[in-house]
Symmetry: C2
Subunit: 229 residues, 2 copies
DNA sequence: ACAAATTTAGACAGTCTTGTCTAAATCGTC
DNA sequence: GACGATTTAGACAAGACTGTCTAAATTTGT
């Protein structure tokens, strides 16, 4: 791969704009080529910036890489928490509302550019930077999963679901909702919206078969008639 | 990383032994360092072989990489099909038997060395070798998933499960059973056996809450008394 | 034990890459 | 429009890596 670039390269204006463009472009190149394969000249060309500017901003390749991961983690986390805030705490149509939530999570956090890049960088270079990715683990899954679990717990407490362990339920919810996208994720592809919807719909249906209140009509609840039909 | 190696390097004897050792070692190095970062000298040293021997056997770095992926795909597939053959077609204890199957699948196919390596190589270099990984997709998921789905279909036909779409159920089964291992997989780690068991147990329980026959006592079933306990 | 095949160590050319340096050009701001 | 800060292009040294070549050493089969 030669660092060739369309001649009419976009050239970002302003100090911050350049910093942004560099980190952004670098994310893409690190993903495509891996850390070792990523070429600073190529990043510079794609970012519309001279190589020296990259060194001015970030010092060296490794520091640039760290900046990229920090940046992605931060943006992804923000997106996830914003989406968690849309969790249906008082659903009118539980199935539809959970499918909507799953869709938002997938489209805004997991399948979007940042999510895709972060996932790939973690998978690819995670072992090489233990402390950096330990940080990601704490800031990412370590904070978002309990937040989702808390929402499911509230839903259970509100009588909408029949859940024993909210943490397990949260992880299984995500596993179910993405069950049909695994192969696509593996190869770094982006699933089409209909595929995401399909997987989310099937996943939520199964989730509700397992955890939905099964006798919304029966008033004799709780300890008594645990076995039902 | 310098190509340093313990001085008393194991030196494989025989033509085939060398070929094996090269492909095997290369798998590990490609995983650790990525394709671009993998160093032929390092592979040679770790394999206990001279660099020239690698070129004699495989021509160049790219051909070596292809050989590695082919090798891993083949071995993994063999393992998966062998494990699918242990699927509980006539379970005595459905929950325990499915947990056992999930454990075998995880331990022998997904968490073992080959599975870990193949997964990482696909994630890391998949986009760079579209046709190679298209081949993997056909030979791997394209063949194993339907095989698992067929087993679930048989279980449903036998009255053990209440499944509409066996393909969806199969994918969801895998998603559930691995739900709690995702973070570990992400970072390339190998989960401890108790973690695998925990995830499998929780996953199978949820799976059965969703798809298990819920009235094993009611005799007015389907064709006759297909439902058992 | 001998002949053929294979493997080895090391040198080597060619290429690529990182990171530094410099002088000129450009930009933002007053 | 002018000044200070930033950016640019390009050259450059140092090092790393791939893939080839050679002659010697080792292994294998008979």
């Amino acid at each position: 791969m030669r660092p060739s670039v369309s001649p009419d390269t976009f050239r970002p204006r302003g100090h911050e704009a350049k910093r942004l463009s560099i980190v952004d472009t670098a994310a893409g190149v690190f993903c495509r080529e891996g850390f070792a394969g990523a070429n600073i000249d190529l990043i510079a060309a794609e970012a519309g910036v001279s190589r020296q500017t990259i060194y001015n901003h970030h010092g060296d390749k490794e520091k640039l890489f760290v900046a990229v991961v920090r940046d992605l983690t931060e943006r992804c986390n923000a997106g996830i928490f914003a989406t968690i805030d849309t969790f249906p705490d008082q659903p009118s149509d539980l199935e539809a509302d959970l499918i909507g939530f799953a869709m938002r999570l997938n489209q805004n956090c997991i399948c979007n550019r940042d999510g895709k890049f972060l996932r790939k960088l973690i998978q690819t270079e995670g072992e090489r930077y233990p402390e950096l990715f330990a940080e990601w683990r704490e800031q990412g899954p370590g904070r978002t999963w309990p937040a989702i679990a808390a929402r499911f717990a509230r839903l259970a407490y509100g009588g909408y679901l029949d859940i024993e362990d909210p943490d397990v339920a949260a992880r299984q919810f995500l596993g179910l909702v993405n069950a049909e996208l695994q192969t696509i994720f593996m190869l770094g592809g982006t699933p089409r919206e209909e595929e995401v919807l399909q997987s989310a719909t099937n996943g939520v249906r199964t989730f509700l078969r397992a955890f939905g209140k099964r006798r919304p009509l029966a008033p004799i609840e709780k300890q008594s008639a645990l076995a039902s039909a």
